[in-house]
């Protein structure tokens, strides 16, 4: 279909242009494999049946652990992935959630499984207030201010005698038998993870989510497009704090021990960031995939390398390799290359 201007007339050039454009146009697929997450959820809900055949507590523990991280990483993803504000201070909300429910449990005996949403709200309220201050700056300054937030919270919690100060607060242990002791927490985390993933999906595909993505790229442009960037990002921060706080609440009871230096360490936040980056920041499936991968790596390292500094070294290496070969995370990079399995495409 060689068009030569010497011979062709204008309309044939226009026609050729249309065909050319069609050839170059990028296609868009919006179909979703809804059955996939539902199946996964079904399997997870049925998993505890294994307990009837023996003791699979450790397996349940691993799934529960992964689910808790999936909740937190997905929550983090709202501010870090969608809005592009990398926070290394989310451990604060983890702690607020944990302590909020923990104190209620210790003093009034109300299980955190019931108070978790309240704990989430408490975390969200704090997130909202903090966000008003720290979200004024972006980029590296924000990252650092979030670390500072963590440090401040740490010092305050360390001094707060009501909640045990630096020595911590221990919570009552469940009196359930070993076989079923984990189940309440298991279901709580699995359901919370399902809810969080669903919620982030809805958020991402709302006007709000679109606005967050816009302001993550260019705040000035987003403002002039009519987006109330300040409100959006502060709300995003609060929402993400909500999920992390909720996870913290249940985690605290599961751990039975609350202590600033369990909750308020940068490693907790760093893990969230790591999971999102590795899985794919700003994607829906990314944080979940990231959580699974990181927990799995951890297990493998502990099992094969055992105890040594090599462990940290290996984690660092995995991260570097991940970043080098999947600069947009597993999900993000595969999507860019058009190789993402449809079941994982929720973006």
């Amino acid at each position: 279909m060689a068009v030569n201007l010497q011979q062709a007339d204008a309309s044939s050039v226009l026609e050729a242009r249309r065909i050319h454009n069609q050839k170059l146009a990028r296609q868009h697929d919006q179909t979703r494999a809804t059955w996939f997450p539902l199946t996964v959820l079904g399997v997870l809900l049925a998993l505890p049946l294994l307990q009837l055949t023996g003791n699979y507590n450790y397996l349940l523990h691993l799934v529960l652990f992964t689910a808790s991280y999936a909740v937190m990483a997905s929550g983090w993803n709202i501010i870090g992935g969608f809005a592009g504000y990398i926070s290394l201070g989310h451990a604060v909300f983890f702690a607020i959630g944990g302590y909020f429910s923990g104190v209620l449990l210790a003093r009034y005996g109300i299980s955190s499984l019931l108070t978790a949403p309240l704990a989430g709200l408490a975390a969200a309220a704090c997130g909202y207030l903090v966000g008003l201050i720290t979200l004024k700056v972006r980029g590296p300054s924000f990252i650092i201010s979030s670390i500072a937030l963590l440090m401040i919270a740490r010092i305050l919690f360390d001094h707060w005698e009501f909640i045990g100060g630096a020595n911590g607060l221990s919570l009552p242990v469940t009196d359930l038998p070993v076989q079923t002791a984990k189940l309440p927490y298991y279901y709580a985390f699995v359901l919370m993870a399902a809810f969080t993933v669903w919620a982030t999906y809805r958020i991402k595909h709302s006007k709000f989510g679109l606005g967050l993505r816009a302001l993550s790229k260019d705040e000035v442009k987003a403002e002039s497009a009519g987006i109330n960037t300040r409100f959006y990002k502060v709300l995003a921060f609060a929402l993400s704090a909500f999920f992390v706080g909720m996870a913290g609440a249940v985690w605290g009871e599961y751990l039975t021990y609350l202590r600033p230096n369990i909750f308020l360490i940068i490693l907790v936040s760093a893990n969230l960031v790591l999971m999102c980056i590795l899985g794919g920041k700003g994607t829906i499936a990314g944080p979940v995939v990231g959580a699974i991968l990181i927990v799995a790596f951890n297990e493998i390292f502990v099992a094969t390398l055992g105890a040594s500094e090599i462990n940290i070294l290996a984690t660092g290496f995995v991260m570097v390799l991940g970043l080098m070969f999947f600069p947009n995370g597993v999900i993000g990079t595969l999507a860019r290359k058009g190789k993402l399995p449809r079941v994982l495409n929720w973006d």
Partner: protein, 242 residues
Amino acid sequence: MSDLLQVTNITAGYGDGPAILDGARLTVEPGKVHCIIGPNGAGKSTLLKAICGMLTIRKGDVIFKGERLNGLRPDQILRKGICFVPQERALFPKMTVRENLRMGGYVLNDAKLRDRRIDEILERFPVLRERADQHAGTMSGGQQQTLAMARTLIVKPDIVMLDEPSLGLAPKIVQEMFDIMKMMSQEGVTVLLVEQNAMMGLKNSDWGVVLDLGRTLFEGPAEAVLADPRIQELYLGGRKVA
């Protein structure tokens, strides 16, 4: 071979994306002004980027003074004598105007020569002289464009490739710009420019090229391009297309 630069049917694209250019040709003769026109997104800027080494060429050759340039880095190509001013003004926003000019002469090893030429330029463009110590990023659109253009005058290469030099310039300055280009070509610098201000561009050129669909559709003397009714209709806004 009298051609200074020859581009034969090249194929090129961004990353591993589709081929944006597929069959682009170009012949550049020394000392003349060449003007490339075409609709938005045709691949004009892509062609210039491919020539100067910013994109990998998948097929075809770029031959400069009988030497193949494929696979060289932009800084190497500059040292061979091809200078490129991209469309997104390639300035250093946090450096002052003077520092930007100094970077323009980075390849010159002779600092004295470089400083002399900078002085010449500041002489010629009073806007820049007034703002010699302002950060380039805070200048107005047109001022930035002026600076980007002026910077090429420091090296005095064999070929300058300009991507829409008139963009955002006030009419008075546009005229000056084309005058400078004429003068450059008289001094023996070959000019290759892309213009959407096509009338103005072609009027001030010797040779015209039409690029559309990622290919070269037409090449000829500028007057011939201007005169062609189909080209007028399709690219010059001459008549409203149905």
